[in-house]
Symmetry: C2
């Protein structure tokens, strides 16, 4: 039989309401009683019934909404969120979806209701769709967004990732190796990260007084196939680049694939840099130079902010302050980039 708050109360010799007070850290309980209650809680291994609490209005699950085919990234996020969740006694409900779906807001709202989550962690590209955020907030959903930006915006609490700077670093790394014709293979254009990374790339070129060459800049998707296709276009050109900055590791993988197919040696004939520090980047030959995302820490921070905000809101309905926290992915030098060789 499951132990309830009343069992604890009986053992501790107090009313069950007092037990409720103690376990919720409410004020005005005599220290002596607190001790008794905690002892009883421990002895009976009491765990409050989630549903009863929830029924009374205190939700304690987070929802993770994502539209992303990248398993590794998602798992990292999940693990980060789970870590924070368990610290605070929350559970995690995951909800994959299609960002392009027409009634995405309804879908999310319905999911929020069904699973009765206290708040949502939104990931790109959903987190970067103002109208979605707006509608959700209008409906009273507490949320935190993980976004690609150099600083927090004022739409909601968010964890922002400085893709711009990270891309700048990668490009600078390639430039430092002597490369001048550096190509850029972009990801989905509706992901802000792709634009940010492109900007970082362009700025690095500019700061180093290098001309950006439109023929070396291709938009695409964050996928292996896109990487294969675009790198094929790129490397079949008359004057091909000596280095390629791929917007994520999958694109880099596709580029590597094409290079091998064309008989190009990496990095001696062609340097390739990715972005994400995925398992692939460590398992390919050569191992990929990339940028480390720290998805787990990012997600954990996001969950922390979210839980914080949920508790804030519970206390007072009026006025809430938005929080922001920034991460910058770090360059990881491996073997797919090398000095420019003079032909």
């Amino acid at each position: 039989m499951k132990t309830t708050i009343k069992d604890v109360a009986k053992l501790a010799g107090v009313s069950f309401k007092t037990v409720s007070r103690v376990i919720n850290h409410e004020p005005n309980v005599a220290p002596k009683l607190q001790e008794q209650v905690w002892a009883a809680v421990k002895e009976l291994n009491y765990q409050p019934n989630r549903s009863a609490r929830l029924l009374r209005g205190t939700a304690s699950s987070l929802g993770l909404i994502y539209d992303n085919p990248n398993s590794h990234y998602i798992i990292e996020l999940q693990n980060g969120i789970l870590k924070e969740c368990h610290k605070h006694g929350f559970e995690l409900i995951i909800h994959p979806c299609e960002a392009t779906s027409k009634n995405i807001v309804d879908e999310i709202l319905s999911m929020t209701q069904r699973s009765q989550v206290a708040g949502l962690v939104l990931t790109p590209p959903l987190s970067e769709m103002p109208e979605v955020i707006d509608e959700l907030q209008q409906a009273g959903v507490v949320l935190v967004r993980i976004i690609s930006a150099q600083q927090a915006d004022t739409i909601s609490s968010c964890v922002f990732i400085d893709d711009h700077r990270a891309a700048y670093q990668i490009t600078q790394h390639l430039i430092d190796l002597g490369h001048k014709d550096i190509a850029f293979l972009g990801g989905d254009i509706d992901h802000r990260s792709s634009l940010e990374r492109k900007d970082g790339y362009l700025n690095a070129l500019k700061d180093n007084k290098l001309e950006a060459n439109a023929e070396l800049i291709l938009d695409g998707r964050y996928s292996f196939e896109s990487g294969v296709a675009n790198s094929d276009i790129l490397l079949q050109q008359d004057k091909r680049p000596s280095a390629i900055f791929a917007c994520n590791d999958e694109i880099a993988a596709g580029t590597l694939f094409t290079a091998r197919r064309l008989g190009l040696e990496v990095p001696s004939d062609l340097s390739i840099a990715g972005f994400e520090d995925s398992p692939f980047s460590r398992q390919s030959w050569p191992q990929l130079t990339t940028s480390q995302q720290a998805g787990r820490e990012i997600a954990q921070k996001a969950a922390g902010i979210l839980i914080d905000e949920i508790r804030q809101r519970k206390k007072s309905t009026q006025g809430y302050a938005w929080q922001g926290y920034g991460f910058c992915p770090q360059l990881v030098e491996r073997d797919s980039t090398g000095p420019k060789t003079t032909e």
Copy 2:
């Protein structure tokens, strides 16, 4: 304001109990009233409150317990389970853990209580630890296991995967290509899949009248690093194999890595086969011959069986029948295996 069962009742002009009956498909409600109720439900967009139901004893979440570093595999499982869950109005709670942890059973039990799941999906290696299963069942936890076996066992409902046969097929494929010295790189020995695959490999050799060579059979772990280390041992030997069957794609990745480092061409100098059909196997150069796991379908089936069983149990406490369902991974021929070349 959230709509409750009473709102629906008022609109439909019946008692709220009748609404309860209708939405739970209980018998003995006049067809006409059923229509009215469903109309009201639709108009108000009513969704039953999960917590209230749960409080009353009807859980509707599944738990996924796993101890596995393989993101792709986990995500596949999750997606499969989620698909089935949503079909039946269930939610999914995920719970990573350490199978080797001393008090793993307590951890799982505590998780089961905390999150109040109706049942668990267990994955290897946890699903293959009899004492864990036993303790959980003793505690009344409903569970379904995904296991590596040729047929269902009688411990609990399970989805079984015929790794033996799949491994046989892969080995046969290598033999058909003319290879005689075929090495085997195993995964974690506490995963039954590794043993099953080894047996399949050995049987294929035997059926083809080939001698198994102990020097060509190495146990290890299901990791890239293990693949690198073991393939290194293997390929530095005087008489090295012309083909390697790696127990999963990560090990195959490590093997590919070593081959490249040693300057061996794949598949002309060395054929490599993996197992799993991971993204890596499609993104590497050359692409890996492997075996397709269908993790999503497997997991969906498992979830289906679990939900089924949960509902069975609810109806009658006494006697429950165990279900089993089998899958066999299929050979996927790609470019990392080729005919044996005579030196």
